[in-house]
Amino acid sequence: MFGLYGAFAKVAFLTQLEYRGQYFMRMIAKLLGWSSGFILLVILLNKVGPVAGWGLYEILLLYAFDVLSYSIAGTFFMGGFGKLPRLIRSGELDGILTKPVNPLIYLICTKISAGYTSNYVIAGAMIGISLHKLGITLSLYQMIWLILDIAGASLIQAAGFMVTTVPAFWFLKSDGLYRLFYRNLTSFLQYPLTIYHGGIRFLLTFLLPYGFINFYPVQLFVNRQEGMPSPIFLFLTPFVGAGVFFIAYRFWKKGLNAYQSTGS
């Protein structure tokens, strides 16, 4: 079974590499697009110094966590869920449902995206550089936490994609939801959440737990404990990730059921 899904994913990936020129263009565009965010951050913080006590490399670390987990989630989920409303309207989804495979895994594997590889490089390098400049050497224990945190953060990002696009099953469109509850709300993550009003922090911790993507886990590595009720928040990311992803999966199932029972 895994062999089959693997084959789907491989084909989807290789198709995108087929047109070398186009792939190259895409890399340059993405490289420029994503590094411009980092560059602007460096420009600003070089001029104004630390923000809310956080230095340049600490904030870069926050940003890199966000970009890396977004890109990992994007590789697997953006292709399928970004286009979910269109897949539903065009009827392509019905085709998927007739296949004797798990529709979610099928969707992920056939729409896997090769466009995020440049982000891995940028964000990975940023994490490396930031840790180096902060004089932090990771112990094995921290290394394991880094990997668990990135995995958990990617699951949170993926759950964010899913929960904000799945309503398309009922409303046929979900662009507005996706923009507000995913795009706009995750843009808080670029800076430490302590610079915002307490209500925002509450929202991003308990209602839409985007804070666990970078703000809480990163503090484990930079030795801080800000804006959290208990130090246990430093370690919650993998659990929150698994939890919200499970909820998102249930929600997707529910949406799919509602869609199928309309009968058409």
């Binding site: 186009q22 993405k30 420029l32 602007l40 420009i43 104004v48 469109k173 800076y191």
Partner: protein
């Protein structure tokens, strides 16, 4: 049967309203984030010569400007090239370029008037932001329009490159990336290091966002704004010629292929 139709129409309307509401909420969040960042930076105390009101005004006006700059031209051009529609555009009596320009401008104006002005008015009231004298506003508007023309020509010219590049999304991403870096739309150029600032002076992008906004903020003396308007005019002409040149080139190569 009719009930279904009514339900569908209602849903569609509902969808639009929600979309608008979501978009407004999103725009507010964007401005709120900016304001928190400026507040945190000013609290740190390393910036002395710029006050809070100036930074907030800058961010609010920049949000309006970027609302006016939204453009799908690169993708649409790519589509037309792919489907061959472009062949018809060669023989149309109306210029494709101006058709796009006014179409996009109309759409953007609708959005900016509908929600942008509202957001601006509320933020100007909440934070008691200063409004410049009518003369300055007028100069700002002239400079803004020239800036829009510059950006439109850049987008259109880059859109035409799709003829060789084949894919519109990425040509647009490159234009957007350059704009974000060099225009000052996100971070005012005051915060840029000097060498980068002088580089921005040589590129057209800062004449779309930073220069018009600093006219609004009254940071330019009379001498300077005249110079800004002249340089803007220069860019409009230069880009206009570049676009003409590319268009001719495409036209001739299409005709050669098409016979």
């Amino acid at each position: 049967m009719y009930w279904v139709l009514i339900k569908c129409c209602f849903r569609q309307q509902f969808q639009y309203k929600w979309n608008l509401l979501f978009q407004m909420a999103g725009d507010w969040l964007g401005i709120y984030i900016k304001i928190c960042i400026w507040q945190a930076i000013l609290n740190a105390g390393s910036i002395k010569n710029i006050n809070f009101e100036t930074l907030v005004s800058y961010s609010v006006i920049a949000a309006m400007v970027s609302g006016l700059l939204y453009s799908r031209i690169a993708e649409e051009l790519a589509d037309r090239f792919r489907t061959g529609m472009i062949a018809i555009d060669f023989i149309r009596p109306i210029s494709l370029k101006w058709y796009y320009f006014f179409g996009q401008l109309g759409e953007n104006l609708y959005h900016v008037l509908f929600e942008g002005i509202f957001i601006a008015a509320v933020s100007f009231m909440i934070w008691k932001l200063p409004i410049p004298v009518p003369g300055t506003v007028l100069i700002f508007l002239v400079s803004l329009i020239l800036g829009l023309l510059i950006m439109f020509f850049i987008q259109y010219t880059i859109g035409l490159l799709v003829f060789w590049m084949k894919d519109g999304t990425y040509t647009r991403m490159i234009a957007d990336g350059l704009f974000l870096l060099f225009s000052g739309i996100d971070i005012p150029l005051w915060f840029y290091p000097d060498w980068l600032k002088s580089l921005c002076d040589f590129l057209p992008f800062s004449y779309v966002a930073f220069k018009p906004i600093s006219i609004w903020l009254g940071m330019q003396e009379a001498e300077q704004w005249k110079k800004i308007l002249l340089i803007q005019l220069f860019w409009v002409l230069l880009l206009f010629m570049a676009e003409r040149f590319l268009w001719k080139k495409i036209q001739s190569s299409v005709e050669i292929q098409g016979g």
